[in-house]
Symmetry: C2
Subunit: 340 residues, 2 copies
């Protein structure tokens, strides 16, 4: 499998690191021999080698902050534009891992369409295209006979999407409820321990959970994007972010945490999704609910089903290797499907 | 897909009920059209019809406690012996759902071997053959080019095995820890609320969780059997039940629950499995552990992995439709693999 990585930040480098570390295991266990043939960055140019880039040298160049440090070798192309890489490289799979833009999803969405048009499978950690154009992406993928996968967009590598789509196939899912954002869940845990909202936010930023501009997290938009992805992919819903009721945690105080504690409850930022709609808002969850015990940067999702009742999956919601694994599990699924 | 059900108690009837209720959905969503062509019981004889049994009439006969109440119709065979059904019926899949026998697994294991020998896929809810002969079953399945699946043996239909084998593929699993028996977990929850051991056991028996002879549950053997199945199928371990340290909950008292409560802990019957061994024993689990909050008849398993850290799956561990769904999900997997 030959892979073009559009975007080579934290998550893309995480995948490259995993493929580097696990090359032998993946070959032995699954007959899976992936090659990264191209990487594209916005500020540091691009690299393409049809025989595959050397992952150790690639990671070393990225660690220096400049792809230009990747050594010259025969057959290496530098600075092909992204459309050129998608159109003319020998990649079988395009991975979109540029930063999420929930307003327009561009230019990522154009790259996604271009990839399908040129017969590539598509794997995303970037939520934008999936949130804004899920149905169109799936339509074009069917037309092209290619796959679109995006496990890493929800709960990073914790298999929230495949649990719903594959493991619970045969059950009817009535609803999903989840804690889908690590930053806010970490902040709420800190506030329960007495931190002020401002201190909790500063701590989340120090740990690298929250962006410099944390509004996407604390106002609930990151959670809402994940809720839309769940609704579209598991309920085949036609739902846009502005149709959700979205409220973040910005109105919560340490005193609110104490009030909830006295009542045997905990504040959690909960996404609730049904086949007809959804909401994102802070909820006082009773301690008997498994979601009440999901603390810190951990995420969780509960599927309410006809045959199993409630099934809950708890795992990490962010992190470099964690999200990289989400990409890997999509690649493995494509590998298995394509080779069976 | 034509199915022979060996055993038609609670779980077999659960599957028949699901296939009856969901016939249209399964056809529409997955192109899956299963037919139960044969059922075999120990006390009420057997039925075989090459064109498929009528599920409503079959369930009605079972509800009366006698398969003889199933109406005569052209092509129906009554009272074929089980080996005859396996050898001579047109079934593609044999489902083994007779009661678990952890000492010898017979006659179920003979039926399993016979099914593979005659080119049938094999699906089990019966733990005996998997615990005692996993490696031999897999060897014969490879030889026959057929599949052996047994999701329903661990946590009923909660997808514990496929989460480990499929969703976490690409991760290295260092260890698994789980609450794998509903009866004992229910009893411990009742004892935390002040019930004596004897009262908790009586309540579990009244609710149908515990058998009349509850030793398999309370002495830890049911949990140990599930631990062996996890170890064999996810670690490819060569491990027998007598190599595990097994201790049940029979030594625990209401006073022990109180002691743990004062220390901010809870007693749970925990299976711990690594690639080299395992144990089943009551453990005082701190409240920060997700397993501490798994109450009543609910089960849970935590996988400790290299790339994701801890991932926990929580869901029902017993029940008629729940276990029936475990069988269905294996059938769907076989359907997908065979038709891809």
């Amino acid at each position: 499998m030959k892979i073009a990585l559009i975007g080579f930040g934290n998550v893309g480098q995480g995948l490259a690191q995993i493929l580097c570390d696990k090359a032998e295991t993946l070959r032995a266990a699954d007959g899976f021999v992936p090659q990264i043939v191209a990487v594209a960055t916005r500020r540091q140019g691009t690299l393409y080698h049809p025989a595959g880039l050397n992952l150790e040298l690639l990671l070393a160049a990225a660690a220096q902050g400049q792809l230009s440090a990747y050594p010259d070798m025969e057959g290496l192309h530098r600075n092909w534009a992204v459309p050129e890489i998608i159109r003319q490289s020998n990649a079988d799979v395009v991975i979109e891992v540029t930063p999420t833009n929930l307003q327009t999803a561009h230019p990522a969405l154009d790259y996604c369409y271009l990839a399908l048009e040129h017969g590539k499978h598509l794997v995303l950690a970037n939520k934008g295209p999936v949130v804004l154009a899920y149905h169109e992406l799936m339509r074009r993928a069917r037309q092209a006979g290619k796959q679109v996968r995006f496990e890493a967009t929800v709960m990073a590598g914790t298999p929230a999407l495949r649990t719903g789509a594959q493991n619970l196939a045969g059950c009817y899912i009535f609803a999903m409820r989840g804690i889908l954002n690590g930053t806010t869940n970490y902040m709420l845990s800190q506030m329960e321990n007495g931190a002020s909202y401002a201190d909790a936010l500063a701590q989340a930023q120090n740990l690298g959970y929250a962006e410099t501009d944390p509004r996407g997290d604390v106002e609930g938009w990151d959670t809402a994007a994940k809720a839309i992805i769940l609704a579209q992919s598991l309920f085949n819903a036609n739902l846009t972010i502005d149709q959700l009721e979205v409220e973040g945690i910005t109105g919560l105080t340490t005193a609110d945490m104490l009030d909830a504690h006295r009542a045997g409850e905990r504040w959690k930022l909960i996404a609730q999704i049904t086949p007809t709609g959804g909401s994102v808002r802070p909820v006082r969850v009773p301690l008997a609910d498994p979601l009440a015990h999901v603390s810190g940067a951990i995420n969780a999702i509960t599927y309410t089903t006809d045959l199993l009742g409630e099934v809950t999956l708890v795992g990490p919601g962010a992190g470099q290797l964690t999200t990289g694994f989400g990409l890997l599990s999509d690649l493995l699924d494509i590998h298995r499907t394509a080779s069976s």
